[in-house]
Amino acid sequence: MQQKDVLPTKPKTTASAPAVAENITGAEAVIRSLVAEGVDTIFGYPGGAIMPIYDALYDFQDTVHHILVRHEQGATHAAQGYARSSGKVGVVFATSGPGATNLVTGIADAYVDSTPMVCITGQVAAALLGTDAFQETDVIGITMPITKWNIQVTRPEDIAPAIAKAFYIARSGRPGPVLVDITKNAQFAVTNFEYKPCSYIRSYSPTPELNQEQIAAAALAINDAKRPYILCGHGVLLSGAEKALIALAEKAGIPIASTLLGLSAVPTSHPLYVGYLGMHGNYSPNINTNECDVLIAVGMRFDDRVTGDVSKYARQAKVIHIEIDAAEINKIVKADVAVHADAKAALEALLPLVNAEKHEEWLASFREGDKLEYEKVQQNELHPKAGGLTMAEVIRRISEKTEGRAILVTDVGQHQMVASRYYQFRDPNTNITSGGMGTMGFALPAAMGAKVGAPEKEVVAIIGDGCFQMTLQELGTINQSQIGVKIVILNNNFLGMVRQWQQLFFDKRYSSTEMINPDFVQIAKGFFVEAKKVSSRDEIDAAVDTMLAHKGAYLLEVVVEKEENVFPMVPTGAGIGEIRLD
């Protein structure tokens, strides 16, 4: 089938199937449960142990849109992208055994990055459980440490309650992936069906009650601060706290820096926004972490990519940690004021209690670092005088031409860091990347899912040549389901980020990082996706225009400088104060 110039057709969500029915199969109960949860999109791949569910799906095609991926890993990343762009729960189907094990990478990725996802796997019949039957795998055991919750269902009457619980757990509190494994006999057997959404589990309290004493203590610390500093994490986006965060920062004159997953919560151009934190983040936000007197960490978990050597991290600062997951508080950095709360609730409660301040000198100190970074790094990357194309100039061009309004989906490596540094975000939830796991192969399927979740948005995936080859088969899905994503391959013929480390820390011994690549344009065209390759500076403008003007999916391969490095950089094991500019 040729790629047609259309956006993905969203199924018309018909009035949902009644949430009560008599004598239906377990398989139909699965679909009706999903419909009752408002699910209209599923990413999946069929197989023996989930066939009854696929069969039941056949009757619900008007209500539920199934997207047939080319690999189950792709389904999980697509569901992640979908969840992050739409704010809904991503749903995945896979069969038992190899289907289920192929989900593992995406589930683990969603787990560390707190992405709500419900995976439904088929399982061999209950009578065969534990017998090493054909395609039987202990998916419950395998996914136990990487799911927020999982359950195996062996009876049809347990299906609806399990799915209700799954959705409640996936989306509440700190969101995360959940897996429901359903044996084949339970799918075939008949049951009466009634769907009751879940809103309470006695051993689970997802939304902490706001503790006014903690809020008061935080306000006191902020009001006493001379150099207060906000670190914005993914939790800000997850709780929809962007406005509250900006209001607080504006009132109290506090600069905001962002973690990788917090990017896009605050527009890059906001006067109080000071940049991107972490190993390959901006210079001044890192340096000033060790200069502030009060550190206000909001919905972030002090990942080691952010802190560097913890023993040298923000020792001077009083730390206020606003966090919904109690287990994250004091896990890495000891909080002087722990606010165990939803970010939005906490920030809204704080706002009236903080004093109006400006902190001009403190803010100005960021600009000094920025100047240094611009002179030493950015100027050369953004406006190179000679040599091959740099990743930065390509990203900046895309940023300008999309006016920062596209959803940027990045893969893992140098291109990810460069994109995070140079794309100028404007709207929340427009940065989708694999943060905690750093999963190569994430971007193509995630972009696909993001586009399905937000069809009105431009979705641009930025992918390295190495990453692309991990999940490129999803071009097939993009073609079949007519998903209009823009794909930019930044091709340096290297596993660039690893090569950079080899150059800096392993004496330039480039062990297995050079790549002999296929013809990406031919590959895209083979999947009926329009494509073009450029390699010189004067072509890039027109190429980005063509890509963005194209209706439907488009792949742009940009040949970039082979041995470019991403700076600034905090070497592993070093403190963030030791960030290097070259």
Binding site: M144, W149, Y200, S203, Y204, A326, A327, N330, K331
Partner: protein
């Protein structure tokens, strides 16, 4: 500094819950030295009593991660002096040795008791701390010990005030739904 700690965990009755809990210790390279679990006085609520050799700092984090699990009610770390605890040991010896007067004395001295006597063997039971159980084991050794078995720790927390009430409240809340 590494010390012996008691960790208590209150859970729902769920297949795999032991696995979920123990994997958190595994990830932090903590060895579980004993584990006892059984249903509490509240139907459907289980209590795990785990002893480990570790540091307070590590265990506070472990407990946080355990509490994050959906089916866990609460989890606590206890210092040695915060709990009253006992372990139980069973000793099996050949019946012919029972005639030995010293054994009777030994059982009495150790505050142990005989559970079963058959033609072939006797099972003796003793509760106490690990040291006492081992000391009795040593004393019995010369009389032809056939088998020895010891439980994990059973503990009651000194400072727990309303925990029983708390668990009952939870069950009521559940019943209302």
């Amino acid at each position: 500094m590494q010390k012996e700690y008691t960790v208590t965990v209150y859970t729902e009755d769920r297949i795999g819950i032991t696995n979920r809990i123990t994997v958190i210790f595994t990830r932090r390279q903590i060895n579980i030295t004993s584990l006892t679990t059984a249903e509490t006085e509240i139907p459907g609520v289980y209590k795990f009593i785990i002893t480990v050799l570790s540091t307070r700092e590590k265990l506070d984090k472990v407990v946080g991660q355990i509490e994050r699990l959906i089916e866990i009610h609460r989890a606590f770390v206890h210092e040695e002096d915060e709990v009253v605890y006992q372990e139980l040991a069973l000793y099996k010896i050949a019946t012919r040795n029972l005639n030995n007067h010293n054994i009777e004395q030994l059982i009495r001295d150790n505050n142990a008791r005989i559970l079963t006597i058959t033609a072939d063997y006797v099972v003796i039971e003793k509760t106490g701390h690990q040291q006492e159980l081992l000391s009795m084991l040593k004393q019995l050794e010369p009389y032809g010990l056939i088998e020895y078995s010891k439980s994990g720790r059973v503990a009651i927390v000194k400072w727990s005030r309303r925990f029983h009430e708390h668990l009952k409240d939870l069950s009521l809340k559940q019943a209302e739904l």
